[in-house]
Symmetry: none
Subunit: 154 residues, 2 copies
Amino acid sequence: MTAFFFHGYALNAVDAKNRLSVPSGYRDTNEKRSGEKQLIVGPAERAPCLVGYDVLRFERLQAQLNERFAGNYSDERDDFARDAFGLNESLPYDETGRIILSPSLKFTSGIDKLAFFIAAGDYFEIWHPQRLIEHKGATSPAGRIVQQLLDARK
Amino acid sequence: MTAFFFHGYALNAVDAKNRLSVPSGYRDTNEKRSGEKQLIVGPAERAPCLVGYDVLRFERLQAQLNERFAGNYSDERDDFARDAFGLNESLPYDETGRIILSPSLKFTSGIDKLAFFIAAGDYFEIWHPQRLIEHKGATSPAGRIVQQLLDARK
DNA sequence: TTGTTACCCATCAAATCCCATGGTAACGCT
DNA sequence: AGCGTTACCATGGGATTTGATGGGTAACAA
């Protein structure tokens, strides 16, 4: 089968009910990849943002677990499994394509009123716009885009 | 077929009758995995918390026993079987999704008023919140989440 | 009897659904 | 190219449903 990749970016608003529209293109990609109207979202490991995947992520994680630890249980394996499955949330989106950000996701990402989506093929990141600029630099490719989108919102 | 995994986390209260709501998502996963409205819960081997599984756990344990000891009885096999089947309790949950924690489970886990659920794919852990922070560290991924949820409860 | 377990019902807040609006990009006709 | 129409998407608000939790009481067992 053909592989489908997340691509593009978007700056969307988080409303008073913590709802956030997932970019339409991402939803298409997601549904082609997994057939599900839900995403897996959790804290990123190496950056202060969130990461989103299709639901097949859990199966890939399970495969990683088997490959890395085989049937041998240990504290290390426990920690890996806990972080992998425990910290990632399964977020279904409604007909209008919105997910609800839990307090934890908002807290760990710093996201409050605006969320910047940027794709990366197999997954995509969700950033607090200002934080991306601080983290990646205002002159980085992503930083420029964010700044530009922020300016466009007056 | 698709595999179903436990995922996500929750901080729930234990009431005066020792009742504890199993997170809705875990119940869904459990029922998809086993078709039963009950869980297997017992002390964790490597951490001071509880572990929960779907009821198929007993069958998997039996398979492990057969594979590992192949019908040869020994002290080692007895110990394994005793721990596996003896220490785990089968806990049915009611229509509102609550299990009742036995005194043993409360004692070995230290859980009293609050219980923190965190998933790990094939199983999930249930912790005394403060104990998780002490055991895993306040800055560990899970530790942060717990602290945050505790703070959110005023 | 005394404490536990199993139902039942009540409540509050959070999550979900449904409908509505405004903006904009795509399209097609002249 | 210019213009208007259409379609889709992000977003807001209200109403409904679901989930977590507390409390009462009858059935049961030690």
